[in-house]
Amino acid sequence: MKTSTPRLGFSFGRLWTIGRNTMTEVIRQKFFYILLVFGLVVIASSRFFAQFSSVEQIKFIKDFSLAAMTVFGALIAMVGTAELLPLELENRTIYPILAKPVHRTEFLLGKFAGMAMLLLLTILLMSLIFEGLLLSTEHQLLASAAASASAPGAEVSAQEIADQILHQTRDPALLKAIFLIGIKALIVCAISLLISTFATSVIFNVISSVIIYICGHLEAGARQASLGDQSPIVRGLMLVVAFFVPDLSAFNLADAVVLGQHIPLRLVANTAAYGIFYAAIALALAILIFQEKEI
């Protein structure tokens, strides 16, 4: 009878069916709107906080907006991802799905893909607002610079000021910074998904993610500080933390961008690879746990 054993390969079609549905699901939640709108408002408001000289004003907008994108990206990733699996289990919507010829891996990665896509779209939207803000500020500053420089007795030429302004606004390093903000949000998303495969409480998940997030930012500084410390306990501890917690400060290019430093593409690529590697490990662990999970 059994001439050939049928197989069911991994399917990106099924994965993306789950992913698209996940996007719809999260977009419909209140927290998402609130965080998104709040994030956009915060970015837009940097225009009104800034009352500095021309170039300083642009630096402030950049610093402020990149920080806002980082924080709101991470917040949406934490809250949104933490709820994905608990909601499916609580509402029992997962049963008819896994009763279909769908691999659990496809389901879990689909959930991740949907959330990841939403995060990238969110960051894209915030970037557009940010870019619009930069361009309008640039326009205004160029006009006023031209006016003041053409006044008799000006110390710097209009051209010089304009160059300074354009150097700040048309900086390709901005794209690199935003790219790494996106990668960082994906790491947070993967870690939160991993936690949700074994923790049932959403609150516990969010708190854990926040702690890991903060540790991830303090890690590099702590390592620096403990460099002189010869105590094996401290060094061992640092190693353990470095193993479990990704060095998230590496993804922060805002300082370099504001200072107008050159950011080598190589550095960006390496950091991104480090982040993707970390997220992949977290996802692999999540899949291992979810395969065995009693749903």
Binding site: P6, T93, Y95
Partner: protein, 300 residues
């Protein structure tokens, strides 16, 4: 080859205080192809657990199960089975059509073929009129029917239905029973869990009764229910003297009359008749969401 076969299928749950709860206890049973098998039993007897083990949603503590000869540990075994969960919940923000489409996509269908399947299934379960309404506004009966539609989307040979009429009013429940009969007519193999016994009696070929996770009785419905030593007539148009002559004839033939009287109609029958004649009077009760055409099926 059996549609379903289980060998020593066992499931323990760990509850609070580390007490072990037996969900299913060394179950051996088989469902043949093209039969409707009723799995009965009181609440907590292990019916839903059995279905979830067969679907690989739970891992067995012991034993194993096959679908059409293939181990349920393999995801691919799910290509030939459709599942209607107990009290089904789907995404509330999707419409009826979107729900069936979603599950169709999960089964690898797309394009024209998928759209045709969606319309066909919505028609089969009688939800075309509600295809673009969100499930958040569906009644329990409508959720059960959309659940049936999604269970059928990949044309499985086997259906597992967990309490398909739980919480559904009598009319909706008869509609679902008729649907099951229709599916049986289409040649599907069906494993039906229920604790509503008279429903099962109408639909099933064979039944098994679970109690505390053990199969305590199994067999053919007709064989189990018929009392072969007794026989029943139901007559019309006999007056008193004629009845007396019948009693006399029974006695003369050596029989013993056990009971007589007016047969009671079932409450369900009475309910359906009243609702139908009330509907015939006016178009539809105000505010009613149910379509006016009620099922025409009567109890056999």
């Amino acid at each position: 080859m059996h549609a379903i076969a289980t060998r020593s299928l066992t499931k323990h749950f760990r509850s609070t205080w580390r007490r072990r709860v037996v969900g299913l206890d060394h179950l051996n049973f088989a469902v043949r192809e093209n039969e409707v098998y009723g799995l009965l039993g009181p609440n907590g007897s292990g019916k839903s657990t059995t279905l979830k083990l067969i679907l690989g949603l739970y891992q067995p503590s012991e034993g194993e199960a096959d679908i059409f000869g293939m181990s349920v540990e393999r995801t691919v075994s799910r290509t030939s089975v459709g599942y209607l969960p107990e009290n089904p919940y789907f995404y509330r923000y999707l419409t009826g059509a979107e729900t069936v489409r979603f599950f169709g996509r999960l089964c690898g269908m797309r394009g024209r073929r998928l759209e045709e399947k969606v319309s066909e299934l919505l028609a089969l379960v009688g939800l075309e009129a509600h295809r673009d309404r969100r499930l958040a506004g569906y009644s329990k009966g409508m959720l059960q029917r959309i659940g049936l539609a999604q269970a059928l989307v990949h044309e499985p040979r086997l259906l597992l239905l967990d309490e398909p009429t739980a919480g559904v009013d009598p009319i909706g429940s008869i509609e679902i029973r008729d649907l099951i009969l229709k599916l049986r007519g289409m040649g599907k193999t069906i494993l039906l869990c229920s604790h509503l016994l008279d429903q099962v009696q109408d639909v099933c070929d064979r039944i098994g009764i679970l109690h505390y996770g053990k199969m305590i009785l199994e067999g053919d419905v007709k064989g189990l229910l018929a009392r072969k030593d007794q026989f029943q007539f139901t007559c019309e148009g006999l007056d008193d003297p004629a009845r007396a002559r019948v009693r006399e004839a029974i006695r003369a033939a050596g029989g013993r009359l056990i009971s007589e009287g007016n047969p009671a109609t079932t409450l369900e029958h009475l309910f359906l008749q009243s609702v139908r004649s009330a509907d015939r009077g006016k178009a539809a009760p105000s505010g009613a969401t149910r379509p006016v055409d009620l099922p025409t099926a009567e109890r056999p």
